[in-house]
Symmetry: C2
Subunit: 196 residues, 2 copies
């Protein structure tokens, strides 16, 4: 059972616990959130808990196996009713979700334990990121965990970070959060908030 806020600050060993800290600070009962890359469904489940019984989550994954695994996890926790699972790529985001969104979560790269040749791609990720901005509520956040280390990861990093650097600073607050005492290709977190 995931501990909900107020929770002690987690050990910030990498971008995942840091992202979770933002989720706990941001999300409230009744909120709407998107998991753009369900993977094994751990984050989808956390989102479902945090948006509460009046909120809703949309979960995307192009791999049917990932959607199935996420669905099983949600059913076990009796939270399947809060989540719409979509076995399509996140570049179809805007066709399926209802705005305004408080959060859109991306975990780039490949699915842990899955086929490493199936990775997120700069073109489709870029399109999904742009759609996310259009759907964000004021103060809402896009969180992207970037993995420069895998094959294709360096290109993706440049594309996503460059995208954030070009956003209008009067409209969006863009942050890069990386560790200083680990290898340069370690994963890091990108946070884009729509201004109020």
């Amino acid at each position: 059972m995931t501990d909900l806020s107020p929770s002690p600050i987690p050990a910030l060993r990498g971008p995942v616990p840091l992202a979770h800290l933002f989720l706990h600070s941001l999300l409230r009962d009744g909120d709407r959130a998107v998991d753009a890359t369900c993977g094994n469904g751990h984050d989808t489940l956390l989102l479902a808990r945090l948006v509460g019984p009046r909120g809703h989550v949309w979960g995307f994954d192009i791999q049917q196996q990932a959607v199935d695994e996420t669905g099983r996890r949600l059913a076990e926790a009796e939270l399947a009713g809060r989540v719409t699972l979509l076995p399509v790529g996140h570049e179809e985001l805007a066709e399926h979700v209802a705005e305004p969104l408080q959060l859109v979560l991306f975990n780039l790269g490949y699915r842990p334990g899955g086929d490493r040749s199936i990775i997120t791609r700069p073109e489709t990720t870029g399109s999904a990121l742009e759609q996310s901005l259009q759907l964000l509520a004021a103060g809402g956040i896009v969180l992207v965990t970037v993995y420069p280390g895998h094959s294709g990861g360096a290109d993706e990093q440049l594309a996503v970070e460059g995208w954030s650097a070009r956003l209008d600073p009067r409209a969006f607050h863009c942050w890069r959060m990386g560790q200083t005492n680990v290898t340069p290709d370690a994963p890091y977190l990108l946070l884009v908030q729509r201004g109020r």
Copy 2:
């Protein structure tokens, strides 16, 4: 009156609201915190609120005027009893505070509205940062707002960031959090957490 948690996520326009988000997530009633650079006392007051009636805050500033201003602010809020104010440089940190600390906060550079020739210095800041690490509780955090833009700021940035990069990753989680869509000399946040 500062709103305490649960609070909506603030607009993350710069490192100060981002630091406040971490303070709200981290601090609990009964905690011990240090404001290593009181300045005008805004953050000292926030810390005093967040540690609650059973907690304690130590506030350092080498400028008597800053200590006086902070004292006035705390007295107005009827929170002076939670804070020990010290008109000494933060390089004397370890001589005055009781461990373990959940948080040590640094705001580098000069005091807003004060004498811009009086700035924090790499040598004394470095010593205070080292002392802070020794006094941190497991999971506790050192937060440093770095201002590369002012005279002397670039040297200070190199010193502080280099220091964090040399810390043992098995013992400390070190993060640099900067904005991607602002000028390169914009202030940013450095976070060092003692591992659990």
